[in-house]
């Protein structure tokens, strides 16, 4: 009785090579895919991390801006005639109150140097007695910014890089 089954054909060396090539391609593709997933995951979490840092920095800027305004305000309040008068009466309780005068920030030509300017230009190395106490703080004058040509009246800004 003849067997219906076909005789098992032993694969030749060429076929074995083809299979290995196939496996190799599959491995490479898998590696690429896995690497892709890995990189995208890394990017995702890196971006997440940057967003968190970005938010923290933005908050710091806000806080610094708030602090800057607060310091400017505190300085101006301290420089106001009312406060100066109060300070004089504290330092010299019995003395006649001399009305404090403000020094103009604009320095007219041919005039004595403004007291404010003297205080600001005082250097550490100077040996002369410091006429005024210097409080290091933020600048006062609003800085002029470069003009923009076009500015949308209302936009929505998304801060996340994703």
């Amino acid at each position: 009785m003849r067997s219906r089954r076909k005789p098992a054909i032993k694969p030749g060396p060429e076929l074995i090579n083809e299979r290995w090539k196939l496996y190799l391609v599959m491995i490479v593709i898998s590696a690429v895919i896995v690497a892709g997933f890995f990189l995208s995951g890394k990017q995702h979490f890196s971006s997440w991390d940057f967003s968190i840092r970005n938010s923290k920095l933005r908050k710091q800027i806000d806080d610094l801006e708030t602090e800057k305004r607060r310091l400017i305000l505190a300085r101006e309040t301290a420089n106001s005639p009312t406060e100066l008068r109060r300070a004089i009466s504290k330092i010299m309780p019995g003395a006649t109150t001399v009305a404090p005068t403000l020094a103009s920030a604009t320095k007219p030509a041919g005039k004595q140097e403004d007291k404010t300017v003297v205080a600001a230009s005082f250097k550490k190395g100077d040996t002369k007695a410091e006429p005024y106490s210097i409080v290091k703080t933020a600048m006062v004058l609003p800085a002029a910014k470069t003009p923009k040509v076009e500015r949308p009246s209302r936009t929505v800004a998304r801060n996340n890089a994703e």
């Binding site: 933005r58 708030t66 305000l73 309040t77 106001s80 103009s104 920030a105 929505v156 800004a157 801060n159």
Partner: protein, 676 residues
């Protein structure tokens, strides 16, 4: 064969078992998969909305806040009004389980009344309200301290404080670092960040900060990983022409002047006649915008632009200006004051002291009413009215401040027979201090009309500063006329009623004015109440600054313009001019002794009360007025006899008859009150 069959029988049960097992596993997975599917459908279809909301609620946080209101700077860049970020601690009672316990802890940390807080929280929880403010507008330092105090162990929240149901909301607080300085000009904004007075009101559109929403997304640790901020146009900053330094000096001098005269109030304006920039605008008494609860409502009014008064003799500058423009006189011409009395339409006007036949500058310097009236009669109604309107009387000056009044200037057809005479010496007309100083500034500016402005520039975010549009220059007086008027003004200070306005190191010119006030209660002018003023400029030849000082109801010392207002002018000018960098051009002048004054108001001696003579500004014999009172309305006429005892009021100058109706109404409007 038998062996084969037995083999088949042995194999059959095995394959069946495998099949059965396989089917069982498949069935199990099928059921499992079905279960998962059913659950997924349930979650994603039936509960999708609820879950989405919950997820969003967990990670997203949307907060609405206002952009910081714009800053108001002075001309040197000093902030006069500034907003800073503050925070408000609020409770969300819906998140709090035991309101009583929470209230106790919160009250202990924040030092608020525990009973009141408990009641507030309980009521809000019952009404499902989610915002109960506990402490409003605190700074970062206090926020940090409260966060530490309120922190509860075991409570994990994305935001601080670590206390269930408590949150911080962003807010802003408006601060005025110079307190009451220029308070009426800068104004004030209310809690809703809306300007209600002054520049805060007039420039509210620029200063107002828009409401923006900020949506943040947090991870499980509460860290913000995504942020979407609504970007709106940022509010702009306004820079004023006022200098804090000038303003302080003007206010200080005004305060000293008002106190020295024991006056009710005062106002002063300093303007640069070259460009119309207001350097200082002061009112005394003032108020502190930082504590509006203590502010007296009357002091909030900017009287310099909102109050109308009879200017008195300072108006003579306009009278002589109109005449000089028509070439009716030159400086060398003389004018005869006669016996010091002139009657116009049955109304006698008198000089305070006899001047005789004098030159025009001398007549002006001694503030002769007769000479001024004679000059005005030569000018004529129409031309005088035309000069008034061209100088800006009866219309708004256009300054960028709210509630400016136009004053009171009637058209010639509504004038009475003596109206021209009265108006030529500063009665029957209502002006503001700003209108008056603007008219003087026009003379100082060689006759080209000055439009006062108080905004130097407006700066919007990311845009270059914008200056207000310049008004087209309009000449209202010839250069020669303006120069002659300045010479006359200088004469007033050198030899006339304004000697106290002589400056140390600078030449100056100006005119004094003293007018009786209208008493609304008695419906007549009150001889015991004056408005004394001095408007001057320096240096006299080429003025760099024009200063108006108006003192309301001076009661002590020299009560006329030369005695009460001129020294204030001097104090202001001597401080401002060096700061402006103006080179000295005059001799050193010491303080003038009082006996050297030429007073505008001469108090009658007791024996002379019946025939009292009066001032250069106001000059009606009360006896005459009483005789006339039944036939002629005289309440708006100049009359300035100062009684020795002010407790006894002078005879009232009541208007009577049909013709008085219009004038009475007019006089009532002259009242020195707030006008909007």
């Amino acid at each position: 064969m038998a062996t084969k069959r037995s083999n088949r029988r042995r194999k059959t049960p095995g394959s069946q078992v495998i099949t059965t097992r396989f089917l069982l596993i498949v069935g199990f997975f099928a059921i499992w998969f079905l279960g998962v599917t059913v659950r997924l459908v349930h979650l994603q279809v039936n509960q999708a909305e609820w879950l989405r909301e919950k997820a969003v609620d967990q990670r997203q946080d949307t907060k609405r806040s206002k952009m910081l209101r714009g800053t108001i700077y002075d001309r040197d860049g000093r902030p006069l009004a500034m907003s800073i970020k503050v925070k408000t601690l609020y409770a969300d009672p819906t998140e709090i389980e035991d309101v009583a316990v929470a209230a106790k802890s919160i009250a202990k940390a924040t030092k608020v009344d525990v009973n009141q807080l408990t009641k507030q929280l309980a009521e809000a929880k019952a009404k499902n309200k989610r915002f109960v403010p506990i402490i409003k507008k605190v700074d970062e330092e206090t926020v940090g301290r409260l966060n530490k105090t309120l922190a509860v162990d075991g409570v994990k929240k994305a935001d601080s404080p670590q206390f269930t149901g408590l949150h911080w909301s962003e807010d802003q607080a408006r601060s005025y670092p110079y307190g009451s300085m220029a308070a009426q000009v800068i104004g004030v904004s209310n809690l809703d960040d809306t300007g209600i007075v002054g520049i805060e009101q007039s420039q509210d559109d620029i200063l107002h900060g828009a409401v923006i929403s900020r949506r943040v997304e947090r991870d499980r640790l509460g860290r913000i990983y995504d942020e979407v901020t609504e970007d709106r146009e940022k509010p702009g900053d306004v820079t004023l022409t006022i200098g804090a330094s000038y303003q302080h000096k003007v206010e200080q001098a005004l305060e000293n002047g008002v106190k020295a005269s024991n006056a009710k109030s005062g106002m002063a304006i300093a303007i640069n006649p070259k460009n119309g920039e207001i350097l200082a605008m002061a009112n005394y008494p003032s108020f502190d915008p930082n504590s509006m609860r203590d502010a007296v409502p009357a002091n909030i009014t900017n009287h310099a632009i909102q109050s109308v008064y009879s200017p008195g003799s300072v108006m003579k500058l306009i009278t002589y200006g109109a005449a000089r423009e028509k070439h009716l006189f030159s400086l060398n011409d003389t004018i005869d004051a006669g016996n010091g009395t002139i009657t116009v339409a049955d109304h006698p006007f008198k000089d305070s002291h006899h001047v005789g036949n004098v030159s025009y500058p001398e007549a002006f310097a001694h503030s002769s009413n007769v000479c001024a009236i004679k000059t005005a009669l030569r000018v004529g109604k129409e031309d005088f009215y035309s000069t008034l309107t061209q100088m800006g009387f009866g219309s708004k000056t256009g300054i960028e401040l709210p509630a400016e009044t136009v004053g009171i200037v009637r058209s010639p057809e509504k004038w009475h027979g003596d109206s021209l005479a009265s108006m030529s010496i500063g009665y029957e007309i209502g002006v503001t201090a700003l209108q008056m100083v603007t008219a003087f500034a026009t003379v100082a500016n060689d006759g080209v009309k000055v439009t006062p402005r108080i905004i130097k520039e407006i700066k919007k975010a990311d845009e270059p500063p914008v200056r207000p549009e310049a008004v087209e220059a309009k000449r209202v007086l010839s250069v020669e006329a303006a120069r002659d008027l300045r010479t006359m003004l200088k004469q007033v200070v050198l030899t006339g009623t304004g000697k106290r306005a002589q400056l140390n190191g600078y030449t100056s010119g100006g005119k004094t004015g003293t007018a009786w006030k209208f008493n609304s209660a008695t419906k007549s002018v009150d001889s015991s109440k004056y408005i004394s003023s001095f408007i001057g400029m320096a240096p006299a030849e080429d003025p760099e600054v024009v200063i108006a000082v108006v003192i309301d109801e001076p009661k002590a010392g020299g009560r006329d313009g030369g005695g009460s207002a001129a020294p204030v002018f001097r104090a202001i000018a001597e401080q401002i001019l060096p700061e402006m960098g103006v080179a000295q051009n005059g001799p050193a002048v010491k303080e003038l002794p009082i006996e050297n004054d030429i007073p505008e108001i001469v108090e009658p001696a007791k024996a002379d009360k019946k025939v009292a003579t009066n001032s250069g500004d106001a000059k009606l014999d009360p006896t005459v007025d009483n005789k006339k009172k039944d036939t002629k309305p005289t309440n708006a006429k100049p009359a300035a006899v100062e009684p020795k005892k002010t407790a006894k009021p002078q005879p009232r100058l009541k208007p009577a008859g049909n013709t008085s109706a219009g004038l009475r109404q007019f006089s009532e409007r002259i009242e020195y009150t707030r006008r909007t």
